[in-house]
């Protein structure tokens, strides 16, 4: 409340100062992000620190529900309203550049060579023609969450390190009622959650494939490796009977309700799992493939400077963005949101990389791949339907795989035409 009062007072003073035309240098910039409790909280802390260090700049944060976010940004910036610094998903960059919503970062402040060196390599996807357009504070990766209480109960010592061990461990954790209905799953599944990333970037690679060619413009998982990965995935339910898609409505709900032994999810889930009372959990790296291959999927949100920012607001926006990509900001983001630092210099310090919760995620970053989506929700839908056709309609996995590939290729072709 006091914070709000103070900010309102500050905002009022700024407005007053500009009204009476004083020579005060105060400048207010606007920052937009989508609403997610921990992210808003972390950003408030960062803004407070930034304003303390730069008393002549105030940052006003606005947030929207995720569902409206893109629409509002698109409507506001061309109209000269809206943010000076904006948060966007890495997959939206092309659309934002094409629509002239964000501007390239000046190379004197954000030297591309320095950024190449300092950030994790996947951030290079934000570079066009030797200039970066946007930079992340944090990145996310996947890991295996497991319920330590259920592990103890089943007498399991350690989380599975390979896919074979995963199946064996899951079998020990699965419980049935008298009629044979599953009442506790060994591992959650559901392509609607994070499993489509696990399948695409992890399982396909672990079975010897390469999910896409040609810089993610061509689907390449219709070979034996893709089929083996799909068979492994649907086999968890069909052959091993250690899971049920749609069990307890959502995978994370089953895990939160102590009804799932294992659950693959992103680092952003840490915060909400911490809030669940009576849930004891731990994290391990994703299990390695049959030949020992490790892989992971990483994604991130970035901050960019909009074309609306000019003059002194532009300078203030640069300063703010510089702060958001500083080591200090990354540590705050890790502590508050649980998202991983985008620079090895912060992520790989011992306190973080051996941290019992963050460690497995940060280790995963070293071998992570980032899918370049043309339309993430549509491409996910292709995966959801691929498994749905096998599950519900009993279609042959090879046929379903081929159908999914042609569906996804069509989405890519439409986008890159």
């Amino acid at each position: 409340m006091f914070k709000l009062l103070r900010r309102t007072a500050l905002g009022g003073m700024t407005a007053l100062a500009s009204l009476i035309g004083s020579s005060a240098m105060a400048v207010e910039i606007e920052y937009w992000q989508y609403f997610f409790d921990a992210r808003v909280d972390a950003m408030e802390q960062l803004i407070e620190k930034f304003e303390a260090a730069n008393p002549d700049i105030t940052v006003k944060m606005t947030h929207f529900p995720y569902a409206d976010y893109r629409t509002k940004v698109a409507a506001a910036i061309p109209a000269g309203e809206g943010p000076d610094v904006v948060q966007l998903f890495y997959g939206w960059l092309n659309d934002y550049i094409e629509a002239d919503l964000i501007q390239p970062l000046p190379t004197d402040v954000f030297d591309p060579a320095r950024i190449d060196e300092e950030f994790f390599p996947m951030v290079q996807a934000m570079k066009r023609d030797d200039a970066y357009y946007a930079l992340p504070t944090a990145v996310r990766s996947l890991a295996l969450f497991y319920n330590t209480r259920l592990f103890d109960e089943a007498g399991i010592e350690a989380p599975p390190a390979t896919l074979d061990e995963l199946v064996e461990t899951a079998k020990k954790l699965t419980k049935l009622d008298g009629a044979g209905n599953i009442t506790q799953v060994g591992i959650t599944t559901g392509m609607t959650a994070q499993d489509h990333h696990w399948w695409r970037e992890v399982l396909v690679r672990q079975f010897g494939g390469e999910p896409y060619n040609d810089d993610y413009k061509t689907v390449n998982y219709t070979d034996d490796a893709g089929l083996a990965a799909l068979n492994f995935y649907v086999g968890l339910e069909k052959d091993h009977k250690v899971t049920k898609s749609g069990f307890m409505d959502e995978p994370q709900a089953a895990f939160k309700g102590n009804r799932a032994g294992m659950h693959i999810d992103g680092s952003f889930r840490i915060g909400s799992l911490n809030k669940v009372r009576g849930l004891k959990w731990a994290v391990a790296e994703l299990p390695a493939g049959p030949d020992g291959t490790k892989s992971n999927y990483s994604s991130y949100w970035v901050n960019g400077i909009t074309t609306k920012a000019t003059g002194e607001k532009y300078d203030a926006a640069l300063k703010f963005l510089d702060y958001l990509t500083s080591d200090e900001a990354m540590q705050v983001w890790l502590d508050v949101v649980g998202e991983l630092p985008a620079k090895p210099s912060v992520g790989m310090i011992d306190a973080n990389s051996t941290h019992e919760t963050y460690g497995p995620f940060i280790k995963g970053l070293a071998y992570a791949n980032t899918t370049k989506f043309a339309n993430e929700s549509a491409q996910r839908q292709a995966m959801v339907d691929m498994v749905g056709r096998i599950d519900i309609e009993g279609q042959d996995p090879a046929e379903s795989l081929a159908a999914a590939a042609s569906e996804e290729q069509k989405i890519l072709d439409d986008y890159y035409k």
Partner: protein, 300 residues
């Protein structure tokens, strides 16, 4: 205003009439007609909401015609209409018919039937979504399992999902239809029933020869009203299938949900506008049918 003084009383009345009419006229033009027209224009364009618009002629409509998902969705939309309307009509009539004859706790019972209509569709859809879950969370399946009956896949099925979603939608609309039917029943003059009684006519004949024919305007209204409702069904479907909207495998997706997804998750505004124009046409045809039916009734 010297010009105003020279006007005749009749002209002054017209000026005042238009002054007052201007408010709703402006409202309709800005809030209704302009966006409608704009949607028509957008349906001939390609636009991802961020960039510039490009004219594409009839390309969006061609795409729609050749899109298997659209035809699937088209069938679903009419499935909601064709299953939903008769069911809700018959159930609400039976309830209203008997409720009309009930004296005991009449007001309380009527309130109970009306309650679902006032409940938020979102909250209701989520509750039903949990009812339909498999063991161990789903109410229905837990009940079946406790009797030793195999579970039913309510939502995770291409055949059961649509009726499962339709059921709460029908239930939610029931209260309103019951009230309208009861009003219709009360409007039938008692003298007809008295005459029938004197003649010693059975209840079936009373129902089919007096009650139903005199309820025709009410029935027409409810049919049209609920038809438009089922053609525009969205909340129940979207909230009961948020993880896989309109799924599984598009088996529950209605046209409005397809429009929503095309616009706000694929950001293909032109294509979404073309779908909107199709929906508009369907609703227009239904509405014209309504006018035609009502006029037929008035001249009788």
């Amino acid at each position: 205003m010297p010009g105003y003084k020279n006007l005749s009383i009749r002209q002054k009345q017209i000026v005042w009439a238009w002054a007052f009419l201007a408010v709703p006229v402006v409202f309709y033009v800005v809030i209704r007609f302009y966006p409608t027209g704009s949607a028509f224009v957008t349906s001939f364009q390609e636009w991802n909401l961020l960039g510039t618009r490009a004219w594409t002629g009839l390309e969006n409509y061609e795409k729609l015609w050749n899109d298997p998902v659209f035809w699937k969705v088209f069938r679903n939309t009419f499935a909601y209409l064709i299953i939903g309307t008769p069911f809700s009509l018959v159930i609400s009539f039976v309830i209203a018919y008997h409720l009309d004859k009930t004296r005991f706790m009449h007001g309380f019972l009527r309130m109970l039937y009306f309650l679902p209509f006032m409940t938020s569709a979102v909250a209701m859809a989520w509750i039903w979504r949990w009812f339909y879950q498999p063991v161990p969370v789903g109410l229905f399946n837990n009940f079946l399992a406790s009797l030793g009956i195999p579970q039913i896949e309510f939502l995770n099925s291409t055949t059961n999902a649509l009726p499962s979603i339709l059921a709460p939608a029908v239930w939610a609309g029931l209260g309103f239809q019951v009230i309208i039917f009861m009003a219709g029943l009360r409007a039938i003059p008692v003298t007809y029933y008295e005459a029938a009684k004197i003649d010693g006519v059975g209840w079936w004949t009373v129902l089919t020869r007096i009650t139903l024919p005199l309820l025709k305007p009410t029935i027409v209204f409810i049919v049209v009203f609920s038809s438009i409702g089922f053609l525009r069904i969205f909340d129940h479907v979207f909230n009961m299938t948020t993880n896989n909207p309109g799924g599984p495998l598009n088996s529950t997706k209605p046209l409005v949900l397809m429009i929503y997804e095309t616009a706000f998750s694929d950001f293909d505004m032109g294509y979404a506008a073309a779908q909107t124009v199709v929906l508009f046409t369907i609703l227009l045809v239904v509405s014209l049918l309504q006018l035609w039916l009502l006029r037929g009734d008035a001249t009788k």
